[in-house]
Amino acid sequence: MSRLTIEASTPLCLLQDAGRFGVRHLGVTQGGAADWCSMSWANWLLGNALDVPVIEVTLGGFAVIAEDDCLLALAGADLGAQIDGQPLAPWRSFKLGKGQTLRLTQPLLGARAYLAVPGGFEAPKVLGSSATVVREEFGGLDGLGLPLAKGAALSYRGESVPLREVPLALRPDLQSNAPLDLVLGAQIGQFSGQSLFDVFNSVWTLDSRADRMGIRLLGKALQYQGQPMISEGIPLGAVQVPPDGQPIVLLNDRQTIGGYPRLGALTPLALARLAQCLPGAQVRLRPMVQDVAHREHIKYLQRFSNS
């Protein structure tokens, strides 16, 4: 077994995996890595199953000291990582020698970095997952939904593998401002004509009111003209429009049912990209039909098995 000790942490540093499934009908939220794509690459770098527990560090402020010689992998945002003060670029696996400190300082590009270890971090499963949901008090190192704290011990049991990088061509592009694909939902026709134009032809700014439940988009107020809705199941990425007309993208820790009308839902790849945007970032939305979104997603998943 190899061990690390947390030297610094924040309430935004959480143990995550793919999330909690098969329990949504009980009111239990999904949880899981907000950028599933970077989590998958972090695990891929070590030959892990793509969904074993990783650490999600949002914005930085996280550090670990190796208690043994350790192998780690880092993917996602560039949070100014350093090993004993020396810069370390993400999208690669690396060694952290006994006594060395890995520090994630501040966001240089993107918002969330994922730290993986061989075989995944050891943590109990609660309702089938180690994903930390603070509000529901599930998951994490002790199963009680607490963020990672200074002094806590992390461990893993996996075997070492050769060092590698995610090929440049396969890394998600966190620099450019690609539009976010939105699968059109059933209420789309009940927004006003002007609103339908505005949704896809104006720029949306990420509000500072953003957490793992949802991210609010600021822009032209959208008008829903349909009947009030009865609460119904909410999928990951649903873009709901409350009466103030400012859309909210619902993320991993969203409530399970709700009654606001929806434009549709972002594709998983769009969600991964959105999870890397900071408040104030500007995004555009692009309409997409379900079949095309499905084909593109399947094509993307092949990157993990073909490379």
Partner: protein, 239 residues
């Protein structure tokens, strides 16, 4: 019933069975749930029932949207309502008291009934569990008598005690854990509504029925209830 299948996300479809909330929906909803679980089998990731809909989240690596649609259509062939609802009947003890249910007086005032009569009427009916949501094990139940119906509070409380029993419109519910909440509170139950170590986790499941039973303060405390009054705020850092 006029079933429709709607797109909600890349890997989710909504089966809409009804347009209105009604107790009579439930046998159909349960029958459709059972069928969906059977036809999707391992390819079902989550099935999220609500009042009039069932959201089907399926494995996108195994099924295309078209195939998922076909499975839902298959589940609906010759669907008939469940004759006997398979659900359990729960009796939830409730200590109805102003100290833990401050809106008892508001409901009495709105309805013109005495507080004791509000309590009697709330505990006289057998309610259906329509859906779980908001928080793990939070069951939306109904329908309460029209005379007891009341809108949510204008300003939700930041902290509602675990076990609090409330009314919103014609629905009633109990909060499984401490959470913010805007329902009109009328009492508190000592029942453990969600337990991660229990089979099925949630005491109540969609399709179950629930009756509330008024108990005395002594019985409430004996059953493990926490009688800390609601409005008292000792911790200055709370807000």
């Amino acid at each position: 019933m006029n079933p429709r299948i709607e797109v909600v996300a890349l890997d989710c479809l909504m089966l809409r069975l009804f347009d209105e909330i009604a107790e009579a929906n439930m046998p159909w909803m349960l029958a459709a749930s059972e069928r969906l679980r059977a036809v999707f089998g391992e390819q079902l990731i989550d099935l999220v029932p609500s009042y009039t809909t069932l959201m089907v989240h399926y494995d996108l690596t195994a099924l295309s949207p078209g195939q998922a649609r076909e499975l839902i259509a298959e589940a609906l062939i010759d669907l008939s309502p469940n004759a006997q609802t398979a659900g359990q009947c729960h009796v939830l003890p409730v200590w109805y008291d102003l100290s833990v249910g401050p809106e008892l007086s508001l409901l009495a005032e709105r309805s013109g009934l005495a507080v004791a009569e509000v309590i009697r009427r709330h505990s006289a009916r057998e309610y259906q569990v329509f859906a779980l949501g908001f928080a793990p094990g939070f069951a939306f139940m109904g329908l309460v008598e029209e005379v007891l119906a009341a809108p949510r509070l204008n300003t939700p409380r930041k902290k509602v005690a675990a076990g609090s029993v409330g009314i919103a419109e014609r629905q009633t519910a109990a909060y499984p854990v401490v959470s913010p909440g805007g329902w009109n509170l009328i009492g508190r139950t000592p029942a453990r509504l969600f337990d991660r170590n229990r089979d099925g986790y949630s005491l109540m499941q969609p399709g179950d029925t629930v009756r509330f039973e008024a108990v005395s303060h002594a019985e409430f405390v004996n059953l493990g209830g926490d009688d800390t009054p609601l409005e008292v705020r000792h911790e200055p850092t709370d807000d």
